[in-house]
Symmetry: D2
């Protein structure tokens, strides 16, 4: 089959690779209808070092149809339409029982070589093998279009996990630092949790327009203090979600939060340490959390919300291209002009 | 001043009564801009018996301006625009500290004679005296119109309390039994808490249309089972809010709830006992709660939500009439063609 | 092997039955070290009607050692010491993902014929077959003695579910109606959740003494009002757990609860309806919940608490007898003089 | 009257000062029965700089009897036995309504000069003036001895706030870094919240013995990893509470927490920044909170728990001395051999 493979040197190529098959009784194979390109994919191309060997099939977001199931798969059958999760997990261990699938010892992350643990071929391909299929896949109603459903695999639960960890509740004023796909999903999630206003801090006008369209308030970074001040009688935001990662965004998050507020960072850090303003954090009794997201844990509620259009992430999609043109698509993703890029099924 | 008074025999009259003044150091007097007529007022006219003496000034929902404050009032001053609460409470006792102001021993309910405890003149008048003003009143931003703000005094927090007590959360499918003002507010509140769908069961088409306009799904009672079945793969509603009260609505609530679901009744019962289907309730592990509402407890978050238009209850308003025409207005309220009736300020 | 079988007419007999074996790849077989006799067993003997055929192997509480596993069992192996759950469930469906295993369509309850769904041979035997072993069994540290661990299979999680559903929190005053095994476990659970005092209402002096020994306050039913009044400045209990079931206990629960309080019933009702005091329930804004319990959902935290002796249910055990003497043991259980009876392993 | 005054240069003296009187209608005056000496007092003596003028009456923990009330005080009267709070707050503003009294603009901290805002004379004296008496004081049952009740003014709610903010729940394994008074209270609080085990990391053997006596597990710092590993199958602590403050204790907290764990620091930082291990914090999805404590917010539940002896903090008391001997007492507090020092009433 055709698949998007890492070609070394920050590049991808569509290559022919071996068709996937059931290898373990809990596996399923899914023919991919739509696969997403995620910011994580771009990171991997450049920072994956020798843990990402050339030839690795990329991609961890997908919607498709089951074409083969192992003998121990009980909840799915051939022909079922499904949405995946960026990780697979056993569903049985202490961590999985708590809903912390990321910590499962059996966890594997699709399409990332050995960067996040043992390798598992990715989903930017005509088909993908899915271990622990009963846990990792979810049946998908026909009524949900693939260009919405594919967000359930990673980016929507990531933003949602941030809003939930931050405890966003009715009436809260929320700031989201960064209007990329994760930031936009965090904005949607915070609105779903009852935020009275979600201000999305973003320098790029086009992304601010998407924020507005999705029910948030897009604003340039230097306008946040004034805007939040007006919304909160000068107190600052109840919750700030850093959807970028790195020192400057995290500092911006601290600047925007009110005393007793909560900051959640869902962005990958850029170094081992952050100079936490501990004196101010103590005086103001802040809470700071870090979140990766869990498409398995939060799937049922997000499926319900996407199913009734309460959450519609599709305005974030800027490009849908055939799998064959993935090379060109990745270049567009890298230059930043596109927000979310989908690869349409190979067959 | 002019005030809407109970005239005996189920009728009201606009009469001249003594102007209110500060009687205790914690009192304030408010010149009324808008007062609401509530279903409770209609109940009182007919069921108030001898605890509602003729001449009682009615009404417990109001927005207005402070014209006089007692010496111990610290957070408000003359000229402040405020919204009231249907009850006053001390703010200091064990119950108030928990946010259960209804249970405060000092609680008084405006405009209801001795039905709910010691009498306190109502707010369907040119002015109203407000005990415990620091606790009972809230400063109201100019940007919030009176026809929205007046809902903060009773009907919106009542519907909101139902949604919160029921624990409505992201992705829930909710049924509200009854599309009157409280039911519509419960629908808005459930949406704010993240419900994926709120079905409002209501026989009157006009009220179903309001439900639709407010983001819910208006449906006739005999269509609920099918509709909820489709939304929940046949399981039934996660949460059902009975916004009517009485046996039949409560039975309808039990019929709509899924196993392990939650039912909250926010409607006044029609008799001392209800034949609870205890065998089914145990088998299905149901939870049943009763809620009255608390405009003081939930004020800050609701003010924030109304302030940013996340919640706009004004489509429920069918009539705004001058205070002088209250007699005619009450007749329209009684015949059921109007949903929510507001009396515009007397001066 | 030898097993305790229903012999018709409210009696049990120890009979020879066929040894259990793995029938499905997710099964395990467990050699039973200790099995409990539960109030539910006694109910079944008398009320099971034709859904409990003679010859049914009884019992749903057990601790033992795995002797055989199916091909799809991944987390357990032969030789592992385990504690069971009274039910088995798939662990994968919508209900199981929410922790509501009782509602799983694959649920089966050990040793109860067809009373609670499809039959599954019980655990009062030398060995027992356990479907969905990865979900239904838990590895048990050697340090936890069997006479404590066996409570994890049913009676402790049942009492614990009541305390959790009731939301018992630090400082609460709790009344438990009934000092039988479930009531005692509810008392332990409420203490674990931070109750300032747990009053166990119980007419039998010996059971009150057990309540005292387990950290509660045993008191006769007609002393509850006074005692709770002293503990709460006359308000009544924050939480009442009915651990008996039926009309009178539930009425006693309503009598003991304070306004805005929570009542949870964990006892089997005695009829289809209960005359709910709906007027008082509304006026006092009560919450009423029904709970069955879930040994799978609450296992990890209860294992931790039993493992460090924070919860030690063993004082409830009045009799430990060899499996062979089950007939005599059941008679002692029926006459009410024993509280909790354990059957020691067959081999 | 006699009072403990700052005498400059890190020293205190018992001096004659003017008797306190009601100055505002919401004031009360309390004759002090017992006052505590807190670690904060020692900090102030040395780090208070020019914001702590010589002559400042020290102390913020007290139990006593009301001797005078202002005209607007409604819930207390002369002769009432009361326990104070380290801060006073208005009880009416946005922050107070949320239970965040520390953020009240009217907040004042007893006996600390201008270090934490406007000055308010302290309670290590024969009497103390208490602003906002209805909010700041709590009636104290005679049955609770002063040497327990005085903990309600600061150190117990401080430890309790840490446990609550950390979300300690049934079955959790908790580490407390530091076995001083706050650490011991955090241990008691975590136990109340249902912790399966609380390990108190403390180098001083005497403090470890107190930890053991109070139901925790005292252990030297280099034994924590092994001990927690045994309790958690190597995962690490669910919750870590830093009750010391500063870089090394916070680093120790990070070392002890499991992935997805929660760290709460209740100790005063020693500098403006902390080198947060952000990469590990993100990878492990940690949560980090800072807490100061709120004796007003948590008073009712703690009063209930101390009232039924569920929490008995008195083993932490090492010295009770007459107010007159405060100079000597402070010296003993400074040399570290005493844990908690109480000054017995002046008259």
């Amino acid at each position: 089959m055709r698949a998007v493979c890492f070609a070394g040197d920050g590049r991808v190529e569509v290559r022919s690779v071996r068709d996937p098959h059931v290898e373990s009784p809990t596996d399923a194979v899914v023919r991919v209808e739509v696969a997403g390109v995620c910011g994580t994919d771009l990171h991997l191309l450049h920072d994956g070092d020798d843990r990402l060997p050339a030839g690795t099939v990329l991609g961890h977001e997908f919607v498709g149809e089951v074409t083969e199931v192992g003998a121990a798969v009980t909840t799915l059958g051939v022909g079922d339409r499904v949405v995946g999760s960026d990780i697979v997990a056993c569903g049985l261990c202490w961590w999985c029982r708590r809903g912390d699938h990321w910590e499962c010892r059996e966890r594997r992350f699709f399409g990332s070589g050995a960067v996040f643990g043992p390798a598992l071929d990715g989903a930017q391909a005509e088909a993908v093998r899915v271990p622990f299929a009963d846990v990792s896949l979810a049946a998908l109603p026909d009524a949900i279009p693939a260009d919405r459903a594919v967000f359930l695999a990673d980016v929507l639960p990531t933003g949602y996990a941030a809003a939930r960890r931050a405890g966003v509740g009715p009436g809260d004023v929320v700031v989201v630092v960064g209007g990329g796909p994760v930031g936009q999903m965090a904005s949607l999630a915070a609105q779903t949790c009852g935020a009275a206003a979600v201000v999305v801090s973003e320098p790029i006008p086009g992304r601010r327009a998407v924020a507005d369209r999705l029910g948030g308030i897009g604003a340039p970074p230097d306008d946040i203090e004034r805007l939040v001040g007006e919304l909160t009688e000068g107190r600052g935001a109840d919750v700030v979600i850093d959807a970028v990662g790195g020192d400057a965004p995290l500092r911006a998050a601290f600047a925007a939060a009110r005393r007793r507020g909560t900051i959640v960072s869902v962005g990958v850090p850029r170094g081992p340490e952050f100079a936490l303003p501990v004196d101010a954090a103590f005086r103001d009794e802040l809470t700071l959390g870090f979140v990766i997201g869990d498409p398995i844990r939060h799937r049922d509620e997000l499926l319900a919300l996407v199913g009734t259009d309460l959450i519609d992430p599709s305005p974030v999609v800027t490009d849908v291209v055939p799998l064959q043109q993935a090379g060109e698509a990745y270049r567009r993703a890298e230059d930043g002009s596109s927000m979310k890029l989908l690869l349409a099924g190979g067959r």
